[in-house]
Amino acid sequence: MEATEKTISDQKPQEHGMEEEEKYVLGFWLFLASDLVLFASLFATYLVLRTHTDGGPTEAQLFEIPVFMLETFLLLTSSYTCGLAMHALKNGHARRLIGWIAVTVLLGLAFVGIEINEFITYSSEGATMQRSAFLSAFYALVGTHGLHVSLGIVWLISVAIQLMRKSIQPTTARKFINAGLYWHFLDVVWVMIFTVVYLMGVMG
């Protein structure tokens, strides 16, 4: 990189090598650590309020095993395909990378769709966010995760567009690395939701 002194226009600025990009990756890890505590607060609220059903629907009455299992598999698989995208990036296969991103996005969309459907079903059964403290906390926790996933989808799409335009270079590589980290992180959170909300819910 430090080779020749050229003018700015015809080369990448000096400090824009991968070293520069590493700062973004560290910054993003810090964001994830912070976001983790955000979810921790929502989990804490859920766990404290989960028995406060006010005579309304309870976890065991609402949750349906096939639905949340499907959600779980979709998300786990999308995490895997996102990992394959990373593999493609490391091997320098831009097309494969974009392809795996597309698969990941589709799986993510399916997840969000099913979740929205789940919420609509509950609401139509009278289990709205306003019904009880338990339901408020449930929608807040699972909904925040869903929002994160939706944001992740938009982000992945935007990264894919940039990859199509500019192929793999330090900036786009970093953007994908961060978006990928984000995507896997949402799986980390989902695993806890799966266990604490759904499994412990159906156990009663």
Binding site: M1, L76, H87, N91, G92, H184, V202
Partner: protein, 121 residues
Amino acid sequence: MGDDFYSRVSDGGDGMKTKEPLSGKYTGFPWGHVIGYMGSILLTLVALWLAVNPPFSQGGIITILLVLAVLQILIQLIFFMHITESRGPAFHTLAIVLGFLFTFAVVAGSIWIMTFNSQVQ
């Protein structure tokens, strides 16, 4: 992220054209990812099975479920997020460890503090 990877990308590796891999280390079959994926599916099924047909007391099951969840998280962190790889000091690992410490403090602390609630309700 691996050392070679960074240096290769900083060389301005134009992946669209270069068919050769960025570094030898990553070629071939993505074993790590496959193992991770299999593991996560397996753990999910085990957890579901335990929750639906609890073989013993609830308290014990919940503990096991939480252990399984922790394993799942480790899979994501290690096989997919490659938290163990870094160039230079692993500040990001430290951050995530602290994040989990505080997560534990917030969740366990809140439950403990708010148990008074079950007495007054």
